[in-house]
């Protein structure tokens, strides 16, 4: 064989490449491809926080964190009785003992009294298999704010271990209805922690209150009130309690939703005899009609990019979900699965659509799917579920279940992890508030 110079260079090049490859990759390293995995809640342990005897009466942040993590559906916290030890410092941790339980993450912490009657609360997140601290924080906490501080820690832990924003410091709004004298009822607009705790009443009324909706900044809530005998849409500032009537057209004023930038309100008006979808420009009061159809069009929701609205319409017979493109006015039906799909809502990340799905077997359940997908995934509810809403991180759905209860269901596991109920009251129409500004 005769080597031309060209061949020679090529050969040299190949040799050099080979050398490079052997240098880059350790020769003959055994190679394994992991082509799958499991989907399981992450095993974690939140050790009861150490605290001086004087602070025994203060709620244990560890318990709140444990519940948060369990509620998220992503974690499987082990109960304190199963814990092999209760360390409060990393030096005291016997990692092997925790590994025996399969625990992957360990949270330890302490509550200390601060001078001003408040506390210092600290936690450390430890990786049991790497045997190292991967997160930690100490906060000064005013008296009575232990829950909020614990939720904050839950957010950090959740974010550190899932890569997603925690929602434990967010709020939910809902309507609570208490029976009053005779046939009368008492309606409250309330805002609470995501888990229903620390509830505050924003508005009480003897007339129905409906459809609370958060402004994107979380500083205002729009709702429907019948306080004047007929429906009107109000917008109320949370901090000041100040409110104004945004819409009081003849007929129906319902289902308000703030646009993603917060300057517009989608709503349903029947001022022209038939419920239609409109967009109200809050500055200036311009009203833009979106639908024009003899059937009922209601329950609008903004796509997160503000380019479209989804709504419920029975124009095809039964209620189904339609989408209107704001730029062209084009309206298309997007649900075909089942005889009843209503109350659609976008996930904040714009990828999913949740709705109330009426199946042929009877009953109404919460379902969700990819925006343009076909496959509906159902949340394991009790058949009388309505008003689904996504958590701001798009990972959970809060909805109204039968019996006046609210139910929290993480996506993926598709079953309820938390029921919020209140004896003597029915809770309805939950609306999950946005993430607090950073």
């Amino acid at each position: 064989m005769y080597l031309t110079p060209g061949n020679d260079y090529r050969l040299a090049g190949l040799l050099a490449l080979g050398l490079l490859l052997t240098l880059v990759r350790p020769a003959g390293a055994f190679e394994v491809t992991i082509g799958g995995g499991i989907v399981d809640p992450l095993p974690i342990a939140v050790v009861p926080f150490e605290r001086p005897p004087a602070l025994r009466g203060v709620p244990d942040a560890a318990q709140i964190i444990t519940e948060d993590l369990r509620n998220s559906g992503i974690f499987r916290p082990i109960p304190p009785v199963d814990m092999p030890q209760r360390p409060s410092s990393i030096d005291a941790v016997q990692f092997a003992d925790w590994r025996r339980l399969g625990v992957e993450s360990l949270v330890i912490g302490r509550l200390l009294a601060a001078g001003d009657g408040g506390y210092q609360l600290e936690y450390r997140l430890l990786d049991v298999y790497q045997e190292e601290q991967i997160d930690g924080q100490r906060l000064n906490v005013a008296a009575g704010n232990i829950r909020r501080a614990a939720h904050r820690f839950s957010d950090y832990i959740y974010q550190r271990l899932t890569g997603r924003q925690g929602i434990f410091s967010t709020y939910v709004a809902f309507i609570s209805i208490k029976p009053g004298k005779g046939d009368e009822s008492n309606y409250n607009l309330e805002v609470a922690d995501y888990d229903g705790q620390n509830s505050q009443v924003l508005l009480s009324s003897s007339e129905p209150l409906l459809s609370p909706a958060w402004s994107p900044a979380g500083d205002r809530i729009a709702y429907v009130s019948f306080e004047k005998g007929s429906s009107a849409i109000y917008i109320q500032e949370l901090k000041s309690g100040k409110r104004y009537r945004a819409s009081a057209s003849p007929g129906i004023n319902s289902a308000p939703k703030f646009s993603p930038e917060g300057g517009r309100l989608a709503l349903v008006l029947s001022k022209d005899n038939n419920p239609e979808i409109y967009v109200l420009h809050l500055a200036g009061g311009l009203l833009q009609r979106i639908t024009d159809h003899p059937a009922i069009d209601t329950e609008p929701d903004w796509s997160p990019d503000g380019s479209a609205l989804v709504f419920t319409s029975d124009r095809s017979g039964g209620p189904q979900i339609y989408r209107a493109l704001l730029s062209t006015g084009e309206i298309r039906r997007i649900t075909f699965d089942g005889r009843y799909n209503a109350g659609a809502t976008y996930s904040p990340n714009g990828q999913l659509l949740a709705m109330v799905h009426g199946s042929d077997g009877g009953g109404y359940r919460i379902a969700y799917r990819a925006i343009d997908g076909n496959e509906l995934r159902l949340i394991d509810g009790d058949g009388l579920d309505e008003s689904p809403g996504f958590a701001p991180n798009s990972q959970l759905i809060l909805y109204a279940a039968s019996g006046g209860r609210l139910a929290l269901a993480p996506l993926g596991i598709n079953r309820v992890t938390l029921i919020i109920d209140r004896p003597g009251a029915r809770l309805r129409e939950p609306a999950w508030g946005p993430l607090p500004p950073p």
Partner: protein, 323 residues
């Protein structure tokens, strides 16, 4: 015995001479008797004085008395002696004659004896002379013989020396030759050895090559075996690690690579991210999966220490690509 004989030899002539002397002495005494009677000298008085050394008058006195007594005695003696002498002279004369006769006979005998003795002496001298001559001759002969012997000895020595020299030379030559022979032999042995060594080397080389060939074959078979085993083990590891790789909430499409060090008993010793997925969560779920899967039941899977080393499980690259 010889000594005794010799002593007897000496003794006999000695006896003779003793007898001869005795005869001569007797003759002399007789002669002297005659002489004394004729001219007996008075004992010198000084001799007496000298003999008895006493001093003083007492001694003088004594001496005088003794002298008087002596003189009387001597006179008496003389008289008696005179009478006696007379008689004796008479007897003596007779005696003298007998004696003379006897002497004459004795002289004759003596002369004969002397003559005989002289003759004997002469004979003895002669004999001695002869003996001496003989002795001389013998000595001469001995000397001659000795000289001869010496000469002979010298000659022999010379001869021997020559022979020795010759022998030495021959020996030297022989040694030389032996040396040469040995040298040659040595050389031959050396060459033989070299040849044998070369042969041995060649054989060893061939054996080595054969061994290498066999080893190569064995290794090749082993390699094939290992290559066949690798996907099986990789599959088992995949199955095991999957059970611990929690994909919950992981962003789809991500992949990562880990370099994992195992001990031969399947324990995870070290995990290093060699290519991150870009997501800390994904990477750490992968790491946790590997660590939770530790130890791999390698023995159960039939992976012994040798296999472990050969397929380099010690350094395992995990590619997490669950999508």
């Amino acid at each position: 015995m010889g000594a005794t004989r010799r002593r007897t030899g000496v003794f006999l002539p000695g006896l003779y001479s003793l007898l001869l002397h005795a005869v001569l002495a007797a003759a002399l005494v007789l002669t002297l008797e005659f002489d004394t009677s004729r001219e007996l000298p008075a004992p010198p008085p000084e001799r007496v004085v000298q003999a008895v050394s006493v001093d003083s008058n007492e001694v003088e006195q004594e001496l005088r008395q003794i002298k008087e007594r002596e003189q009387r005695k001597v006179a008496e003696q003389r008289r008696r002696e005179e009478a006696l002498k007379q008689k004796e002279r008479e007897a003596a004369r007779k005696e003298k004659r007998a004696e003379e006769e006897k002497r004459k006979a004795a002289r004759v005998r003596k002369e004969a004896e002397e003559k005989r003795r002289q003759e004997e002496q002469k004979q003895r001298n002669l004999q001695r002379q002869r003996k001496e001559e003989e002795k001389k001759l013998a000595e001469l002969k001995r000397q001659q013989k000795e000289a001869e012997n010496q000469k002979k000895l010298e000659e022999e020595r010379a001869k021997r020396a020559a022979a020795e020299k010759k022998r030495a030379e021959e020996e030297k030559k022989r040694v030389e030759e032996e040396k040469k022979r040995i040298e040659l032999e040595k050389k031959q042995i050396e060459e033989e050895k070299k040849r044998a060594e070369a042969e041995k080397r060649k054989a060893a080389e061939e054996a080595r090559k054969e061994k290498e060939r066999l080893e190569e074959q064995r290794l090749e078979a082993q390699r094939r075996n290992d290559e066949a085993l690798k996907p099986v083990i990789a599959g088992k590891i995949d199955t095991r690690v999957r059970r611990f790789f929690n994909q919950l909430n992981l962003e789809a499409g991500l992949t990562c690579e880990l370099e994992v060090k195992f001990s031969p008993d399947g324990q995870v010793l070290d995990v290093r991210i060699s290519r991150s997925s870009g997501s800390e969560i994904f990477d750490s779920r992968a790491i946790t999966a590997v660590r939770k899967a530790s130890p791999l039941p390698l023995q159960e899977w039939g992976v012994d220490l040798q296999t472990f080393k050969r397929i380099n499980l010690e350094n395992t690259r995990f590619v997490f690509n669950p999508w």
